[in-house]
């Protein structure tokens, strides 16, 4: 069975089962609130003491102690739990979809022009939700409280992209904190192109680090300016088997796939006939056409 058949079959099957009567209108359960008392959570819970370094405690730490109100903002009033000697049934423990939806999203559910709490690629759902990626009490790193550092965190679902980054010879260097998956992708944004970050002025994310390629140029590389995928028309940002992270193994192939118009319907010039592809010089277009990203001085992008 191919991936295509499996994907289509899987969607239909899950839709059929999921829409069966009873699923759509099932009620969510609400945790009751409890009364407060004077004890602190750190009296019993070691992790409450560790919470001093947690961003959720920021600005609330008093003499090195995390006040109870910090814990209660997610776990609800802990008085009954404390008075019952730590009865776990009397304290709210946010987990899974409900925990993410009713606890995390109550503060972090803001919608922006690209992010969507409800329609995002990773919007809360049983399979993936806030607590799939974020470990509030024992994060792998304090920044964003992620359960594992990037790119290992993303690799748990996006295995092929992670494998490509780890193993292909020409890739962006991920790891450390200089670059990660979230340098280019916003995990809370909507799917598709919306999931790729932009510059502050709304351009393709590549220009955040490769600003010198931005132009504008007097002599644009037409395809670059007009293309749907911008830089990704020629380059593969997730790593490539080809130098310069190009999508093709030879320079001539990168160029001639567009610069070989077989009809008048597409944009892209035909190289003149003196470009004899039997000669090495003409197999390597960038020997002469060095300014492939655009030029202010040469109409044929020669300098």
């Amino acid at each position: 069975m191919s991936i295509r058949q499996t994907a289509i079959g899987g969607i239909v099957l899950l839709l059929f089962i999921g829409l069966s009567p009873g699923s759509l209108f099932a009620q969510e359960q609400q945790q009751p609130a409890a009364e407060s008392s004077g004890m602190t959570c750190g009296d019993c819970h070691e992790q409450a003491k560790d919470f001093v370094a947690n961003p959720h405690a920021r600005g609330h730490v008093e003499s090195g102690t995390v006040p109870r109100t910090v814990c209660e903002s997610c776990h609800g009033d802990g008085t009954a739990h404390m008075e019952a000697g730590g009865d776990t049934s009397l304290i709210k423990v946010p987990r899974g979809f409900d925990g993410a939806e009713n606890t995390c999203a109550s503060c972090h559910g803001k919608t922006t022009e690209r992010r969507s709490h409800r329609m995002g690629a990773h919007a809360n759902q049983p399979a993936v939700n806030c607590l799939s990626c974020h470990a509030i009490h024992k994060p792998a790193q304090t920044l964003h409280l992620v359960a594992r550092p990037e790119p290992a965190l993303c690799a748990s679902c996006h295995g092929t992209q992670a494998s490509s980054f780890r193993n292909k010879p020409y890739t962006h260097r991920l790891g450390g904190s200089s670059m990660g998956c979230t340098s280019c992708h916003d995990p809370h944004a909507r799917p598709g192109r919306e999931n790729v970050r932009t510059t502050a002025s709304g351009e393709t994310v590549c220009l955040n680090c490769h600003g010198e390629k931005r132009g504008p140029y007097v002599f644009q590389h037409g395809g670059l300016a007009a293309a749907e995928n911008d830089c990704a028309t020629c380059h593969d940002p997730h790593g490539s088997a080809n130098p310069n992270q190009l999508r093709r193994a030879t320079v001539a192939q990168v160029c001639l796939e567009c610069h070989s118009p077989l009809t008048s319907e597409t944009l892209g010039s035909q190289p003149p006939s003196f470009h004899n592809l039997r000669l090495p010089r003409y197999q390597n277009c960038t020997t002469c056409h060095v300014a492939v990203h655009g030029s202010n001085r040469s109409p044929q992008l020669l300098k």
Binding site: I3, V52, E113, S178, A225, L262, E265, L267
Partner: protein
């Protein structure tokens, strides 16, 4: 220079460490040491791909204090891989509740490239690397200050700086030959952002006004005088004795960005955004060349030329979007949106060239010849996207989302006549409509999670030949873990089929990749990991050979197979982490990459320890132009408090 930087960073780290001792509560971590390297084979390609160099390295550095002072509520400083590179970063985060939040980031990357075979026409003569190389530093610096005087208004100011500088080599085609040039590049881009966020209950958003400036200076000079391998043209052997070009560019880009969200009804959000920028780039070039040159365009020989160029290019872009999101039932969300974008690129250049001592091919009419070119070009691009989506995120263990969109692209390309070499296909109006349907579903119940998604794009026309007329993407995921997470299994499969079948376009590209991975922790102190991936792609395009006009099909394949395995052992105070992988590609560029990684840590005291690392990368390709075998050994001192 690099050694000096290393000591600077070490001094800075020690200063930060000592200064934080003033805080009663402070968490500190530092791991610093020395990395040794041993590279055999093509060191240029090692640097192109990996570039971990010998020297002092602060592998990680972290200081955090939650202690409130009069100025801050917390302070965090994180740094990674400072020193011998190739990528380093420092991040500072501090703030005070109700007053401000300050974030400062610095990143540096070594950008090196010297490819032996790619884009190298001299490879057949045994000359490697190719003529296009660079050895540059890319540094990025960001500082963002957010003021928090109230929950309703949060003004902010930000500044970013990007710098790309260093030497390189490139080529230049002039007067019948190609010449190798030395290049020195210094590019600096700055960006200032000022704005405010606002939160008025049901209405919140932000307004940003920014100004960006790019200054670029490039100096090129002839690397090797004389003839560079070309054959005599009409009895004259082209050669160059001097080529010098200096270019400068100054580009200003003011931009505006507005976003607003309104909770218009209890369960309905209206989100709007607007962005606009207007970029204006002024460039100037001066070039001098001397030697013996030939020009078929002029029909003359000449002994040199002086050229000056003044250019101005503009990019005016705006985009606006509006969408409404609503929760109709407790488990049903719907969204409808519209986005429109307009981009207008215009350029003009005045190119003044004086050809010195030119004579006709017949050897007469000797004179200096001036050529003045006034060029104007423009590209307009309009995009309109209408979309709608429906999401059911919590049907018990199930979740679904489906969306549909229609995107209209209108592109008008009007190049200068000088850009057109062969008439046709370089200008005109192009309209393209893309219809997209995207659906995905998932199921998650205790131990199992499965998900599937499909995205189908259908276009009525291709603007570029590699644009699709149909593109199908499918993705399947599944995972399983035992109740105590002793064993975890995962599978990801993806397939993409791209095709342009219009008018004999003859372009298609298929990609299929899947990964299966397993992790097991049979006992607390041991974790093993293994994965197997297939990374395949194939593209076929019909190409018209320029010299014969014969149409033939070219293919490009990647036929990759990856095997990875790892083991982690934690026997406090000693830990060991070992990972091995092999990637073998039997496609158009066959090669294999073997990677070994080992790291062991011994914490001999509560706060002190040592770690040792060994990394090995072996790259082999066929034919063998750039093979290398690189070992790195590191010994690091660790301190944690």
């Amino acid at each position: 220079m690099r050694m000096k930087n290393n000591f600077t960073w070490l001094a800075l780290a020690i200063t930060v460490l000592l200064s934080t001792t003033a805080f009663a509560q402070v968490t500190t971590e530092i791991e610093a040491g020395y990395r040794f390297t041993s590279v055999s084979g093509n060191e240029d390609l090692y640097r192109t791909q990996i570039d971990e160099r010998e020297g002092f390295v602060i592998r990680s550095f972290s200081v955090f204090t939650p202690q409130s002072t009069g100025l801050t509520d917390f302070l965090r400083v994180d740094a990674t891989d400072i020193g011998a590179g190739p990528s380093s970063s420092v991040r500072v985060d501090t703030g005070r509740e109700g007053a401000y939040r300050l974030r400062v980031g610095w990143r540096s990357m070594d950008a090196f490239s010297a490819l032996p075979a790619y884009a190298n026409p001299l490879l057949g003569q045994g000359i490697i690397p190719g003529q296009h190389t660079w050895d540059r530093d890319r540094t990025m610096f960001d500082v963002d200050l957010e003021l928090l005087p109230s929950a309703k208004i949060t003004p902010f100011i930000g500044y970013s700086q990007f710098r790309n500088e260093g030497p390189g080599t490139t080529t230049y085609t002039l007067g019948g030959d190609d010449y190798l040039l030395r290049q020195n590049l210094d590019e600096k881009e700055t960006e200032l952002r000022i704005g405010t966020g606002f939160n008025l209950g049901p209405v919140y958003g932000s307004v940003t006004q920014g100004w960006r400036n790019l200054e670029s200076d490039e100096v090129l000079s002839l690397a090797r005088a004389g003839n560079n391998g070309s054959t005599p043209v009409l009895g004259t052997n082209p050669d160059a004795s001097q080529i010098i070009r200096s270019s400068s560019l100054d580009a200003d880009t003011p931009f505006t960005s507005i976003f607003i969200n309104g909770d218009v009804l209890k369960n309905t959000k209206l989100i709007g955004s607007f962005q606009r920028f207007s970029s204006e780039a002024d460039g100037s070039d001066d070039e001098v060349a001397n030697g013996n040159f030939v020009s078929f365009a002029l029909g003359r020989f000449f002994t040199g030329f002086n050229e000056s160029v003044d250019s101005r290019a503009k990019n005016q872009t705006w985009r606006g979007s509006a969408r409404v999101e609503s929760t109709l039932l407790s488990k049903l969300d719907v969204m409808a949106g519209y986005r429109t974008e307009h981009r207008e690129l215009t350029g003009s250049a005045l190119i003044n060239t004086l050809f010195l001592d030119s004579i006709t091919f017949g050897g007469v009419d000797k004179r200096n010849l001036e050529e003045i070119l006034e060029a104007d070009s423009s590209i307009d691009r309009d995009v309109d996207v209408l979309e709608a989506a429906l999401s059911m995120r919590n049907l018990g263990p199930f979740a679904f989302r489906v969306s549909a969109s229609v995107a209209d692209y209108d592109i008008t390309v009007d190049p200068d006549l000088e850009e057109i070499v062969v008439p046709g296909n370089q200008s005109g109006d192009f309209s393209r409509r893309v219809n997209t349907i995207d659906a995905n579903a998932s199921y998650s119940k205790s131990l199992f999670t499965i998900g599937a998604s499909a995205r189908l794009d259908d276009a009525n026309r291709a603007v570029l030949r590699t644009d699709y007329t149909t593109r199908d993407r499918y993705r399947v995921r599944a995972s399983f873990h035992t109740p105590n997470n002793m064993v975890r299994l995962g599978f990801t499969g993806e397939e993409t089929n791209v095709e342009n079948d219009l008018d004999g376009g003859g372009f298609n590209a298929d990609g299929r990749s899947w990964t299966i991975d397993a992790e097991a922790a049979p006992v607390d102190v041991l974790r093993v990991r293994a994965s197997y991936s297939i990374l395949d792609s194939e593209s076929r395009a019909r190409i018209r050979r320029p010299e014969t006009f014969v149409v033939e099909t070219w293919t490009n394949d990647e036929d990759g197979e990856v095997l990875e395995g790892g083991i982690a052992l934690l026997l406090a105070p000693v830990s060991l982490d070992l990972n091995l992988s092999r990637y073998e590609n039997e496609g158009t560029l066959p090669f294999s990459v073997d990677r070994w990684r080992m790291r062991t840590v011994y914490d001999f005291k509560t706060h002190y320890g040592v770690s040792a690392e060994w990394a090995r990368d072996r790259y082999e390709e066929e034919p063998a132009y750039g093979q290398f075998d690189a070992d790195r050994y590191g010994i690091f001192f660790r301190y944690r408090r």
